[in-house]
Symmetry: C2
Subunit: 366 residues, 2 copies
């Protein structure tokens, strides 16, 4: 077996080298209070000299912490998760935690999930990014009182710690922005409607229309799934069938790309003929041409906040579930223009981090 590799230096070696019992070493290493300063020094030195590294498995087996956080993600292929993970990573690194990644699309069934995470007890806590069917295992997690945080997806039972963003308000703002540019016929590409973010965004869109006395039209709702190909297909079909809208609000940036593609393939231009606005502000949003005007979610920050929240929860298991909602903001780039634009006169790109309009808007009704 692989264990035949040269024996690593253990707590026992350190104990021997520093002339104390190995439980003392353990105490020192764990920052126990009542240790004579001199022994502490001796132990620390020995550990350093021997190049001692804790064996996490043993530690965790023995009831300590594994210093590992499990991260459940659907996949890495949407430019969105990646940003969140960056934030998670930053915060975890700071607290000296490592990351165990579980991708969901491979799931051998709902069990596998909490089984992996809890049953084998490897991780001290779990971060769930956009879980599709959390209900299946949330109960299990809660029963075990296992620390976890949901990112960008709310728990119907409202009993989980959640980090999300102002989806409703963001969508409201996006829609209002388009309206203020003079648009009236504004199509809306939905996200995957099973996700809470998708319905919240749809509601925000509807609310903004309503507040500006624009009747909601069902025909203007294009059913997407948060992925580019679907948005492309559906939008293309839409443009064949109905008179073109002057603006399209896509529920996320990926969909917005699909929309722009469909517009282009229809011989139309963005933003001259049809304005397009997205949601998320993934890195690609400022790469595409024209640069995408969108509602920014502070992805990296979401990751950081979620990680911090989880760490707190691990530290203090009694702490009640919290929900932290971060603000979105409108980032104006080049993909939207006034309704009757004669071309080319759309707004100037704003600096990535600066280009936000912060305005008031009605509170989301509960």
């Amino acid at each position: 077996m692989r264990n035949k590799r040269p024996r690593n230096v253990t707590i026992v070696d350190v104990a021997r080298a520093s002339g104390v019992s190995y439980s003392t070493v353990s105490r020192v290493l764990n920052g126990f209070e009542f240790i004579k300063e001199s022994t502490r020094q001796r132990v620390l030195e020995a550990a350093e000299k021997l190049g001692y590294v804790a064996n996490l498995q043993a530690r965790s087996l023995a009831g300590g912490r594994s210093q590992i956080i499990g991260l459940l993600v659907p996949g890495l292929d949407n430019g969105y998760i990646g940003e969140i993970i960056r934030g998670v990573d930053v915060e975890l690194a700071r607290a000296n935690y490592d990351l165990m990644m579980y991708t969901t699309h491979r799931s051998r069934g709902k069990e596998s999930i909490y089984v992996n995470a809890i049953a084998n007890g490897l991780s001290d806590g779990l971060l769930l990014i956009v879980p599709l069917v959390p209900a299946a295992y949330l109960n299990a997690l809660r029963q075990e009182n296992f620390p976890y945080v949901l990112i960008d997806q709310s728990d119907a039972a409202k009993q989980s710690s959640v980090v999300d963003t102002t989806n409703w308000q963001g969508a409201y703002e996006a829609t209002r922005y388009l309206i203020e540019l003079g648009h009236q016929r504004i199509a809306f590409v939905t996200g995957l409607m099973e996700l809470s973010s998708a319905s919240e965004r749809l509601e925000g869109y509807k609310a903004a229309l309503g507040d500006h006395n624009i009747p909601f039209q069902d025909e203007l709702i294009i059913e997407g799934d948060y992925w580019q190909p679907e948005a492309y297909k559906k939008t293309f079909a839409f443009l064949e069938q109905y008179p073109a809208p002057t603006a399209i609000f896509a529920s996320n940036d990926l969909s917005a790309f699909g929309v722009m593609e469909a517009i282009r393939d229809h011989g139309l231009r963005t933003p001259e003929d049809i304005s397009v606005i997205g949601f998320d502000d993934i890195p690609q949003a400022s790469i595409v041409y024209p640069r995408l005007t969108t509602i920014r979610q502070p992805l990296e920050q979401m990751g950081r906040v979620a990680a911090k929240l989880l760490l707190e929860q691990i530290e203090n298991p009694e702490q009640p579930a919290r929900r932290i909602t971060l603000a979105t903001q409108l980032v104006i780039r080049d993909s939207c223009g006034p309704r009757q634009a004669k071309g080319g006169q759309h707004r100037k790109t704003l600096k990535k981090t600066g280009g936000s309009l912060l305005r008031t808007f009605p509170a989301k009704p509960e």
Copy 2:
């Protein structure tokens, strides 16, 4: 401590339930040969009924496998790593391995790396994606005879298993493609020159020029680092200073985006004024406008192959290091045109998976 959570069902419970000793259970669970079929069944049933799940830490502590692969990545923010990881993930899932991710940019020093991975013995093997300074720890890994595979970065000592692509040939092909379109003055944006891929691509470019009797000009070499901002900055400066080339070959797609941006900000057009070709074919390449013509690296496949290779190595530690080089291919989209194009008449987009030209080219000199 968190250990106070309800005791999980262990091998002992299963033993009790099936009326055998727990070492027998262990044997059954590990697919040991000499077990009476009837007991095997009994054990399996009991395990199933009780919902037994192996505790990986204990198993691994006791000398077994942890079923965890460590993945060392620089970060997730380039659209490139993500694709590779997808491939890794697929293969690992198949073999029932989990993924432990270490991001390098946070590195607390070179030690931390192999320390994390080996010293604490959590993982059964290590996948290193584009490590920047592998020399620092490769020795340690080799000495421990610890299974690892390098992805997209070669080992100067040539003693590691590595999975990479035909960088030289890819660059050669890209350059030749531009030459065949009539370009003569072709600028080249380098990658981060510490990486083997970067120098291989530069060499490929030079070779193609040479073979077509185009003198190599130092002034046409723009020093990049594989990142968009740098490419933008340097290209912009280049365009200020020198007469514009008719084509630019960027060492990776991200840089190509920067190049296109610089071209645009100079009031020029791609591909009408300047053709641009990239390398990698990251997902964004087909999203940008104009769609980027590029050399595709089979990223996902690289991940899969690397994972498989690693698994083999874990299975059979004696197996010598192998190097697997996957083929790149030219993917023609819209960012390149003939030299004197009068605009608009660039080539048609090819389907993503179909648009490749497979042609012969001289073998890379050793």
